[in-house]
Symmetry: C2
DNA sequence: TAACTTTACTTGTAAATACAAGTTATATTG
DNA sequence: CAATATAACTTGTATTTACAAGTAAAGTTA
């Protein structure tokens, strides 16, 4: 719980450690995590702090808690966990994932009408637009159109996004942290660019997600339209 | 905070009150909720307890909190909020909603292979099966196939579900409370019964959800396969 | 009057304590 | 040895206290 780089809140640090342990197989499905009191002792923190970490693990689906018994590790979800998380890199995992830039990032006007209501500031500043395809095992999974408000993102358009996570870049270069969002979703027949980029036939069913992604920067949200070919991969989420 | 029926934890009671206020328009989008300290005073509880209630409102998308500023009411989401909640009645709202029973509830064997892994106990006990159509404004929105483990649900098959919420019945008659779950989702072409029950053409894109719904009863989950016609209604969720 | 500083207020993090409710292990009794 | 009771352990709820960090209002100074 020390070191310059580790300036996360303590509960967050414990959460990250436990999460990594679960992801790395140290704790497997059905295993009990150490008790809250044990975690207090091993981490030198008090129980309310431990509970914050555990509650976040519950919220993210890694564990289930049962009064009197303990915290049980859940099965690792299958499928693409895009419904519960913001980023496609997180949802897919970095292995097997490729990103191809189709267009952008370029500064341009917002689509009109746009998929979500825009503030006057957003409207005035225009957006940074880019189109990407995300491929898993070299097959297109997502056709992803991203719209970022052109507000305080210096030199954004000169950055490279090939095989890189947009969220990582936002966090490291601009201190913008994604904190959640909302989405709408429907099934539509593929047509036009969607057929081309997802390698599906005209009329094939694809998923269409429209997302508004919230960040820690006040009044800075960004937007994403995703088309997803679910032939080989379900989308997954918890609620 | 008193009365026999109100045996919810205090943080839960405050959550319910505030949520109702937001839903009923007492607080509107952009309004600030009372500060944490104000809520402590008006409700006679301490701040950690208030914070639990507010954190749940954040989690459910009703408010956003900003350090130093307060808790701001979010816009009420549009669309069918099925992606973030367990029940279709909650997702749709009770107005304009009709439920038609197509089949069941009947006791029968689980589908094999089944959409989620089953425990030995579940396999052995078989399932209670029913098919429903949920209609909004008299148009079919969901074709809902539900599988409940045939475990400790006395007289379940003699109950009526026409225009009634399954979750309500489980809670009131069996003290089974839904506490969340997981879902998988894809876009598929409609065929067979789906065309018939959702009133769509062969090959039209529909959403296919497979859900495992967790309850407060230990080792008692139930399952649902939903087909959704998203022509007129998006599905909505927060993450 | 504008700019700066201070104060008051708000949410975020954390510790310490206490009691309740549920589960499991151990001890006791028949 | 089986059944029951008790103790130990685990998570759930709640209070109290303290400090940190951010926002907005009020006060002071130039």
């Amino acid at each position: 719980m020390s070191g310059k780089k580790q300036n996360l809140p303590r509960y967050r640090q414990v959460y990250e450690i436990l999460r990594k342990h679960i992801i790395n197989g140290v704790y497997r499905e059905g295993d009990m995590l150490p008790s809250e009191n044990d975690l207090c002792q091993t981490n030198g923190i008090t129980r309310p702090t431990v509970r914050l970490a555990l509650d976040q693990l519950v919220k993210d689906g890694f564990i289930k808690k049962q009064q009197g018994k303990g915290s049980i590790v859940c099965a690792q979800p299958k499928g693409i966990g895009i419904l519960s998380v913001a980023g496609t890199t997180t949802a897919i995992g970095k292995e097997n994932l490729k990103t191809k830039i189709l267009e952008g990032p370029v500064i341009r006007k917002w689509d009109d009408p746009f998929i979500f209501p825009l503030s006057d500031v957003e409207k005035e500043s225009g957006c940074i637009y880019m189109e990407r395809v995300r491929l898993v095992n070299n097959k297109p999974l997502f056709y992803d159109i991203t719209f970022l408000p052109n507000i305080n993102l210096p030199r954004f358009t000169s950055r490279t996004f090939e095989n890189r996570s947009l969220f990582d870049i936002l966090r490291r270069s601009y201190q913008i942290k994604v904190i959640g969002g909302e989405q709408r979703l429907k099934a539509i027949p593929a047509k036009g660019k969607i057929c081309q980029h997802l390698d599906v036939k005209e009329g094939d069913p694809v998923l269409h997600l429209e997302r508004k992604i919230n960040t820690n920067r006040i009044d800075f949200n960004f937007y994403s339209t995703l088309f997803c070919n679910t032939t080989e991969h379900d989308l997954f989420g918890i609620f």
